[in-house]
């Protein structure tokens, strides 16, 4: 009916189509160059000499020790964060006191501070010249402290929004039905914040397994004692043992994938009651 309109609509549709293709193309190209190709190169290099060789290298005693240490420390740290992080989130959402907004801001410090600086200061605080007389440098405790620092915000930040959105009246309903405060928390609050806690735990775990900056100075990197997986990889690159480094790196890569999958799976499972 209007001669101009169909032409314009077609043109707009084609420009929309072009825009869609462009944004998708750019995204895929960027991701391929920056992420996918390097990861592919890593996986390729590790199987370069065959799967058997890969397995041999990956199960060297030193490599296994480093991986065990990294995973063990990460699990411990993730668990501590699960508890303390939830408590902190609770205090920030439900409690009120002067300076609370400053405390809330400070939680993000480990995100903002370079990890090497964090490592250096942890060394100052809990190392040889410690002002509080606590010298744990070059021990596994030092590694735990460093990892606790860098992972501190994760659980707090994933739990806060979930806590904030809870239906407080459901807790009141539970009380009116006779539930004690502990019961209210366990039966009503916890099931609803669990997805938040678990994603925070998974992120903290992934971060702790791969951490290098905060750990490299304070741990002393003693093989079998305080050498974490990331430092193992780094040292073996420096010394030219690329296949050794690649083998452990691939194991770490698999752990990262698994963690991301776990986060997705957890959220899916635990929110199935929300899908009508």
């Amino acid at each position: 009916m209007y001669a101009g309109a169909p032409v314009r609509r077609r043109a707009r549709q084609s420009s929309e189509g072009a825009a869609a293709a462009l944004s998708l193309g750019f995204t895929t190209a960027f991701l391929s160059v920056v992420v996918v190709l390097p990861i592919a190169a890593l996986v390729w290099a590790s199987r370069d000499n065959g799967l058997h060789q890969f397995w041999q290298v990956a199960t060297q005693p030193e490599a296994v020790a480093a991986l065990e240490l990294s995973i063990g420390a990460a699990v411990l740290v993730a668990l501590v964060n699960a508890v303390v992080g939830t408590i902190t989130a609770w205090v920030l959402v439900r409690d009120d006191f002067r300076g609370k907004s400053i405390v809330n801001a400070v939680i993000d410090l480990p995100f903002a501070l370079p990890t090497i600086v964090a490592g250096l200061t942890l060394l100052a605080l809990y190392g040889p010249q410690s002002p509080v007389g606590l010298d744990v440098a070059f021990t596994r405790t030092a590694i735990l402290l460093a990892l606790l620092f860098v992972t501190l915000p994760f659980v707090v930040r994933t739990v806060q929004p979930v806590l904030h959105e809870l239906d407080r009246e459901a807790e009141e309903a539970a009380r009116s039905l006779g539930a004690s405060e502990l019961r209210v928390f366990a039966s009503i609050v916890l099931p609803n914040i669990l997805p938040g806690i678990l994603s925070g735990v998974a992120l903290a775990f992934a971060r702790a397994v791969g951490e290098i900056g905060a750990v490299v100075l304070i741990s002393g990197n003693l093989p079998y004692k305080t050498e974490v997986a990331s430092v193992f990889v780094f040292n073996h690159i420096q010394s030219g043992d690329q296949s050794g480094a690649a083998a452990v790196a691939v194991v770490m890569l698999l752990i990262s994938f698994a963690t991301l999958l776990a986060i997705g799976g957890i959220r899916f499972l635990l929110t199935r009651h929300e899908r009508a």
Binding site: A173, S176, H273, A276
Partner: protein, 317 residues
């Protein structure tokens, strides 16, 4: 169980929610707390439930002081406007929660939950989650949940406020029927005066944190204690210090002894009832309510001049 509210006051920051409120609720009665937003009715209900603490005053349940008692220990069932469903539990688990807390044997719980599911007509929905139910169904579940542990008092905070008109009307009737069978002392909060009048035996009218009047629905309408109650419960016209109900105004086509002249601005035909908006010679606007037959006999139309006189009017000190 009887409820006695004695001289309760509550303030939130600078806002005085309740000032010296005293009400007696008879055991087994169905009482409405009626008032506009901010009148303090929900606050009062929550204080009775133990979900808020009063600043001053006491709450007595069955004669004993329950003011300091935690909500867990009061034996009251509470129903919230927005259902407060336990989203992560099935309908069955929601309803059975109170019984589980009291550690009743599993068979007993299962049986009671089934009874209640039938009572609220949610028989097929036991294994669904609240997110899969409509608003009306969720509220029925919430009612069943509150009733499961056989509370001595049932408290409902604007229970039908979030539902659409038809569901609201159904649930109102249902609540009335439930009460006449079980005779649990029931108190519900509403801002809808029609709902209060239709459902309750006694109505407590509240405004700005104070009780304005406590009486049965009929008395509330026919003998309001003050201007607020007069204007809040039912329609009322105000002429200076005089108050007249729309149906207490007689319309004549010719002037009489005590009539005033008025112009009809608009006539609305609402089925059986006809409502006309008029303006008096002195500029006052008011409403008249007549039956269909009356309106037809007078042949009322917009633009017509008529003569109006009150058959009953009221003034307040």
């Amino acid at each position: 169980m009887s409820i006695q509210i004695r001289d309760v006051s509550k303030r939130f920051g600078a806002f005085q929610a309740l000032s010296g409120v005293s009400v007696d609720v008879e055991s087994g009665s169905l009482t409405a707390l009626l008032g506009p937003s901010g009148s303090g009715k929900s606050t009062l209900l929550r204080i009775v439930a133990g979900l808020e603490r009063p600043d001053t005053g006491e709450i007595l349940l069955a004669g004993s002081d329950a003011t300091e008692l935690a909500p867990q220990k009061r034996g009251v069932g509470f129903v919230f406007q927005h259902y407060a469903a336990f989203k992560h539990m099935t309908v069955r688990d929601n309803i059975g929660f109170g019984l589980k807390i009291r550690k009743r044997p599993r068979n007993e719980i299962r049986q009671r939950v089934q009874e209640l599911l039938e009572l609220v007509q949610l028989q097929g929905f036991g294994d669904r989650f609240p997110a899969q139910l409509s608003g009306g169904q969720r509220q029925r579940m919430a009612l069943a949940r509150a009733l499961a542990p056989e509370p001595k008092v049932l408290l409902l905070d604007e229970p039908f406020g979030a539902l659409d008109a038809r569901v609201r009307a159904e649930l109102r009737l249902w609540l009335r029927r439930l009460h006449s069978e079980a005779h649990t002392t029931t108190v519900f909060v509403t801002h809808d005066q029609e709902e209060a009048m239709e459902v309750a035996d006694r109505v407590v009218v509240m405004n700005h944190g104070r009780v304005e009047q406590v009486s049965g629905p009929r008395e509330l309408y026919d003998a309001p204690a003050n201007e607020f109650v007069m204007s809040f419960v039912g329609q009322a016209n105000r002429f200076g210090s005089s108050w007249v109900r729309p149906h207490d105004l007689r319309v004549r086509l010719a002037p009489g002894e005590s009539t005033r002249e008025a112009l009809i601005e608009r006539v609305a035909h609402l089925g059986f009832e006809v409502r006309a908006e008029l303006v008096r010679d002195d500029g006052e606007r008011f409403t008249v309510q007549l039956t269909r037959d009356e309106a037809e006999n007078l042949e009322l139309a917009s633009g017509q001049i008529v003569y109006v006189e009150p058959t009953r009017e009221r003034t307040f000190a």
